[in-house]
Symmetry: D2
Subunit: 338 residues, 4 copies
């Protein structure tokens, strides 16, 4: 199949390029730069050879007979380009936050000029691309909104318990999440400077992080039921989320394990760890796995879930490829198990 | 004053030695090794010069006219030596967990043969050495149980709000704590191997960590009211605790700030950060400060407190020196502000 | 093809297992433990699933019809087992230093009881498995001595210039080499403790490192012509060697480039970087590439070569697979380009 | 004494401010910003309290009766301001490269408009401030050119052997130097981004680094006698230089030790390590020490010297304070031994 990637110079875009280059069912992707970028080639994330980087144009997409367009672009760009792409019959996987949210209040964290009816229709049709929960909607999807990295780790951890009604929602759920520095993007800033990050650790957002709405909407929670905070780890990649819930009734490790395993029975990329084994970031680095583990209090009611992903793979590019696989009717693992 | 340190080869003991060597009111400490250690000297943590390391004996303590004994030893050793030390009229600051706990149930995490009435008396007299909360008890203390590192960060964060009755205890308090690797001790293990720790992050205990009882006892909480978890950061030193509480009523940032500043008005080593400023581990590394900051949810009811210390300084050796300062009637800052 | 790996619990052995598991032309390898190891299974380095680990026995090798045996074992074990393996008709790739050296003086750094004529014969037949230099000897090899990590990076950097007679050997060659911590092995030691390694850097051997003889022998240099030193980097994997030579006559960048490119024309795994581009460890991490770059002094006579490999891949397991590929008549890239 | 610091927002300037704040013989320094900087205060590097940052003006210096001016500024600024400062009778310690070099060819690496005779006079009077070699010139110095970080580590390592004529200069000296990231400055760039630096290592300059001339001039070497290369370590601070020389005659460890110890007999900040002990960056971090160690080849002729400093202390701010101490007739250790 023929694909194109806009934004291959960023971290998620480069990871996506790497995955597509070694994918057995797609050609080498067409790499496109947005206006203003002056680079004309890019070192291949696979083997370092130089790949051409061409200026984006609809004409070029047409000439190259591109069928699937990946947007690893700022949300404003995605918001602007997707309507035209859909009109031209392209399928799109958008890695930005532009089309993830239906609740307009939550969407306010991604400011852009709303254009009216056509966009409302697109929003309504966009599939939130977390395959473990939306597997059936993907084959027909024309637009997939690829989830945020933190939401992926949190939603996959909580969905089984919530769907079974096991969580006491009168008590708040706490999601204490930690991410590696690539989550902050490639642009050099004071926050990503090595000297400010190494041998350091800090919290940088709670209550107001723009991924909050995504979690609330997907898990159908009210704002006051969820506390979500974000911290910056002195590592390059990976997210570990520590999630605290109170259960409706006392459970055993066996019951928790059953709940998770049944929910994710057909999901190759979710791995369940039974105590005392716990997920670690090193186990998921450079993979598309989401590892889930937990610890239960002696009372059987307080539960801590540990969820690990690689923010650039399952939290971005790998999940985008997994979505593409399902959109195309292939095995969801294609090209994702090394 | 004349002091001795047992356990100067460990990380906390070395930090303590460094602080005592540059302390303006104490002589160079007598460094003592426990039976079985064969080293006879030790590189000074201050300037690298070689310092003598002598085998521990009560006779030597007497000859050198030691007045204050620091024990940076396993809890079994502290449990065994402290009664004799007190009988001999020595004052003791014990950095282990041996004498921190009164509740026998909590104390069970530090297994040792209990010896009866004398020990009960000692336990009853031991002062839990967190100067910001026990400043008045320290001048008379003969035995100070120096707090654990995690409890120091959590207790200092929660004490002001709890003492003012601002926390809704019907909702659980969650303490998600992260520590640098020196907290795991100097002994090489698979867990402290560089390759297993760098570019990694993991949770390693929840509900059962042996520091839990210490927090509960000091804050007078019931076990089910507190969830405490521990994680390992790929840094050498420092703790950041993220603490989540629900307040009894909606507060403003001003109210939270007032509460913290009033509580710690006379405490030189607690620094309060007002949002949007937040503590970071780099700000407290190599210092005796405990930095406190917070974020309030828009509802004013959900509160995240961020607490940072250096686990080897405020979480161990620095606090031991601070305790010594108060035991001796000196300024608590003596020797601790570089 | 059917292969077995002894030593899969170490870092090089685990990397080798990972590569064999995804290799298109070999079955899942039989994983064998040496006497004394009590583990009975091993987490797959590929996907974390549990793999059986069986006690080594010659009978088991026979039953499973193993054709190629990989030894990721201490040199004493390799020295002891290889003669029997060869008698039984197995082909062997040995990752230890046991069979790399012909000069008995150099071999003295790997102490073992020499057993006489049979071993002399084996030593004489063993092929030093650096495919870029010995490609023609590998198809017939029964025993391949897989090179050390430092020697791989140094030999590949120097071979082109030395073979063309461009180096002034009256001036010493200096090889200042730096390795990540996995090169020190998996055993926890004071040297591999995170706290002693992070935010630190140290030299640990010069003139006496046991890889020195290997470099001398392969490049046919005299001891006084080569200074080789080793340093420990606070990273998990990768080697960068900075190599300083004086040339016989002034060269241009073009001439150096031609020399390297001609020498490695058919070598897929050696990549040549022209100034101002220089190799970095991140470009070779997790790959089988050896990247070579250089800087020339304005005089055109003093040359610094920079050589980067991943010590666990091109410096150990990847090179072992590359050797296997050539022993079996396959493309040397099979299974090594992701 | 009254001092002012221009450039306190950079890494070296902040370290200098920290040292001056705790120095027993100077007042809290006046912190000055250059035109264009809009910050009006600065977190104290000592305890985090806010310090005023005032716009630079000659008038302000006069009003505050500043006696000694520290310039932690780009070399162009130093070049421009120093003549006026000297005319006004101020003493100056300049941390830039502006006034370090007398040889106009070497000085070309610091481009600025040369202004003629007055500047020639200043250059001629400026003292290169490496106290161990120029102790006698400092008491009278009006302008001290504080050395570069790499040159400090290299010059201190080589001066004893060269001054005794022990080095065979017909063979090139190789200085393979590695620095932590703070050496690259505080400005966020692609090179200082955490993701590009952690788990990585790279060479970035050889033969052309602008510190080369400084080493040549101070050690009175010809360009072809010295190869100097620079590498970037994934640590925050510290330099380790590996220096390779050929001796004129075979020496013993005792002879090398004697040479170093005699040369640095009165120098408190140079520590000599005898083999097998070797300097490590962690031993000098946050100190003003320069640690020297070595390894001799069995031939006694090839020598590797290892030299460690903290690039921000002995390589910048600490040395500046040491120079100030000597300029003022105080002990050179004042304020520098914690």
């Amino acid at each position: 199949m023929k694909t194109a990637v806009v934004g291959a110079t960023g971290y998620a875009g480069a990871e996506l390029t790497r995955l597509l280059l070694r994918h057995p069912r797609v050609c080498a992707p067409l790499l496109l730069s947005r206006q203003g970028e002056c680079a004309t080639e890019l070192a291949s994330p696979l083997d370092g050879s130089m790949l051409p980087l061409l200026p984006f144009s609809w004409k070029l997409l047409q000439e190259r007979e591109i069928e699937l367009l990946f947007l690893a672009t700022p949300h404003e760009v995605s918001r602007q380009w997707v309507p035209e792409a859909l009109r031209r019959g392209l399928r799109v996987v958008d890695l930005s936050g532009a089309w993830r949210l239906r609740n307009p209040e939550y969407r306010a964290v991604y400011p852009f000029k709303e254009n009216g009816a056509e966009e409302d229709g697109i929003t309504a049709c966009a599939v939130y691309g977390i395959p473990e929960l939306r597997r059936n909607e993907l084959p027909e999807a024309q637009l997939v909104a690829n989830p945020g990295c933190y939401p992926t780790s949190v939603i996959l951890a909580l969905a089984p318990l919530l769907s079974r009604g096991l969580v006491d929602l009168s008590q708040g759920i706490v999601c204490d999440c930690k991410s590696g520095v690539s989550g902050a993007g490639k642009k050099p800033t004071a926050q990503t400077h090595f000297v400010e990050t190494a041998e350091n650790f800090r919290a940088y957002a709670a209550f107001t992080h723009r991924h909050t709405g995504e979690i609330l909407e997907q898990l159908e929670l009210e704002p006051e039921q969820l506390t979500f905070s974000a911290h910056l780890l002195p590592i390059r990649r990976g997210i570990l989320s520590s999630i605290y819930v109170r259960l409706n009734r006392s459970l055993t490790d066996n019951a928790v394990e059953t709940c998770l395993r049944e929910f994710y029975g057909g999901s190759r990329f979710v791995r369940v760890f039974r105590p005392p084994r716990l997920p670690e970031i090193q186990f998921v680095a450079h993979t598309n796995f989401c590892d889930l583990g937990w610890m239960l209090a002696p009372d059987g009611v307080r539960l801590m879930i540990v969820s690990c992903i690689d923010n650039l793979v399952k939290g971005a590019a790998g999940q985008a490829v997994q979505n593409m696989n399902l959109m195309c009717g292939w095995s969801e693992c294609e090209g994702l198990l090394q």
